[in-house]
Symmetry: C2
Subunit: 337 residues, 2 copies
């Protein structure tokens, strides 16, 4: 399937979804839409992902594409009116449109009408299923080994770490599944439940359902965590995933150099305190071990410095650690296998 | 205002909402509907609340009533079809109907039509406001002292303890507010947000908004907690309330003799572990102290035995404790004042 990725004015640094799709999805990306970088190419900005031209608008996309994916998720999840001409143009060409916004495209009258007229699908991946329920506390009944990522903050690399662990596990011959809990993961995997959009009574239940489904067919289930147990706004999402997934192993994700909660006037506690924070939290509900850590060293230029940062992180959490993008996931995967 | 309370087959032991309204609300209760106990009186079942006849159906309610309140909240929050004749009869008499179910009366075609025809209001208290947002992490900016109740499990008495603390504080001349987070509390207070029904991204934000509102006008804010940090399904609700309210004090609620999670095959950890569990969880987000505990001794017949249970509980948590219904809240209130 061929797609275009909308990431106006935010590619690549604030376009987590677009970069995730470029790196991990099976889609063939025909173009990235960013009016600020039009004329460049994806690999001018992000190495080691599939390449594509960066263009100013949908009308500059020459190839036939099957879908336009909104590749940005602004704080609050609103729809920017400046994106409307591109979404309109996509639908008029017969393209489906996928989005992970809190604002649902399907409820926008113009988009709904255009989609009906041109036979297109509007997929709002952040809209949860209607039939969710309360967790039964039975996710640990699966035979599969369940591995859940957790973090010190939002946007430290949990989706990436989980996806890299999953892909490396498959490359190593392990029968692994990926459970997507956020819009980027869902857009990459083509399935999943956006747990941040589920009513809080059913959030753990949504995760439990996905773990039971994935665990029935696979030996290893890698669950994408969200946010952090110390986050002032989103900790309820984090804790629901930890208890709902009843993991055998937890993997801690952190970004090197991050010491305050992104967007908040709050310090992040010492990294060394996190394994115990999460283990103590998980323990009344499931038999959970701490497997190791995944460090995001994107702020470190030099590989040797990055290796040192990873070693320091491993020391701090007293467990194996890796940078999943830069160095791989082997040291943590060994614990799990 | 005069109300009838529907509690068929569940009054009083499984009719938390009905009993809460009888005990704490300003409403004048004309009758309780329970077809299993028709002919008895409320005080035959529950002492020390306002008395009223127990009747079989709405047609046995002779007085003019302003509203019928659904006083039961079954697991799952569904609407029992056997209640339909009473709701229908109420609307045909011009009564409003209040409910705290996941099933919204306003979306039921028959009830919506009857309400429109007879000029009645259908108040689904479990429907959250549409304009909620993400927490800013600023609940601690209020001058008020914020006190949040937490628990070892669901249904151990958090709403009751919070309400008793609030009422005792007011009786002692303190300028106190009550922040309702669940359907019973909202039905009693006439305001509040049902946080279990808020999408998980906004749950802490909903609590923060209520604390900011209440804290602007009062010296003490008592926040009704929900569920438990060790609950396999609802811990996300609990943690969102703790972080969203950024409390100055936590009060632990427990039911004497409860040692497994209600409805789940899971042990509750030792009560002695809870103060630290909650303090460690709250601490990265707010300066929070543990104030004491509230024990529910309804399973203990003898007052002397109940006093011993409270003393044991205080020893275990190493803090002042009380039974708010049986003995009052003074020992804990002293810490807060």
């Amino acid at each position: 399937m061929k797609v275009a990725l909308l990431a106006h004015e935010q590619f690549p640094d604030r376009a987590k979804t677009a970069v995730g799709v470029l790196r991990y999805a099976d889609y063939d990306v025909a173009a990235v839409l960013d009016r600020d970088s039009a004329g460049s190419r994806v690999t001018d900005h992000v190495p080691d992902v599939q390449d594509a031209p960066v263009v100013a608008s949908m009308s500059d996309v020459d190839e036939d594409v099957d879908a336009l994916i909104i590749g940005i998720a602004p704080i609050g999840g609103g729809f920017e009116e400046s994106w409307r001409p591109d979404v309109r143009a996509a639908l008029e060409r017969g393209c489906d449109v996928y989005a992970g916004l809190h604002y649902f495209l399907a409820k926008d009258d113009e988009f709904a009408d255009l989609a009906a007229e041109h036979g297109c699908e509007l997929w709002d991946v952040r809209k949860p299923p209607e039939d969710l329920g309360v967790a039964d506390g039975v996710a640990d009944s699966v035979d599969a080994t369940v591995v859940t990522t957790v973090g010190t903050d939002c946007s430290v690399g949990k989706m990436t770490a989980t996806r890299e662990l999953y892909e490396d596990a498959r490359d190593a011959g392990m029968d692994a599944a990926f459970v997507a809990t956020g819009q980027t993961g869902i857009l990459i995997e083509g399935a999943g439940i956006p747990v941040d959009r589920v009513v809080s009574d059913f959030t753990a239940g949504a995760v439990e359902r996905m773990v039971l489904d994935a665990g029935a067919d696979h030996d290893y289930v890698f669950v994408e965590g969200q946010a952090s147990i110390v986050h002032p706004a989103y900790s309820g999402v984090t804790t629901s995933i930890v208890h709902g997934s009843m993991p055998d192993y937890l993997v801690l994700c952190h970004e090197h150099g991050r010491d305050t909660v992104h967007g908040y006037d709050q310090e992040i506690p010492p990294v060394a305190s996190f394994p115990e924070r999460y283990e103590d939290f998980a323990e009344p509900v499931s038999d959970t071990e701490f497997a190791g850590g995944m460090l995001n060293t994107r702020s470190v230029d030099d590989d040797a410095d990055a290796r040192e940062a990873v070693a320091d992180f491993a020391d701090a959490i007293d467990a194996p650690a890796d940078d999943p993008v830069r160095f791989g996931t082997e040291s943590v995967l060994e614990v799990i296998r």
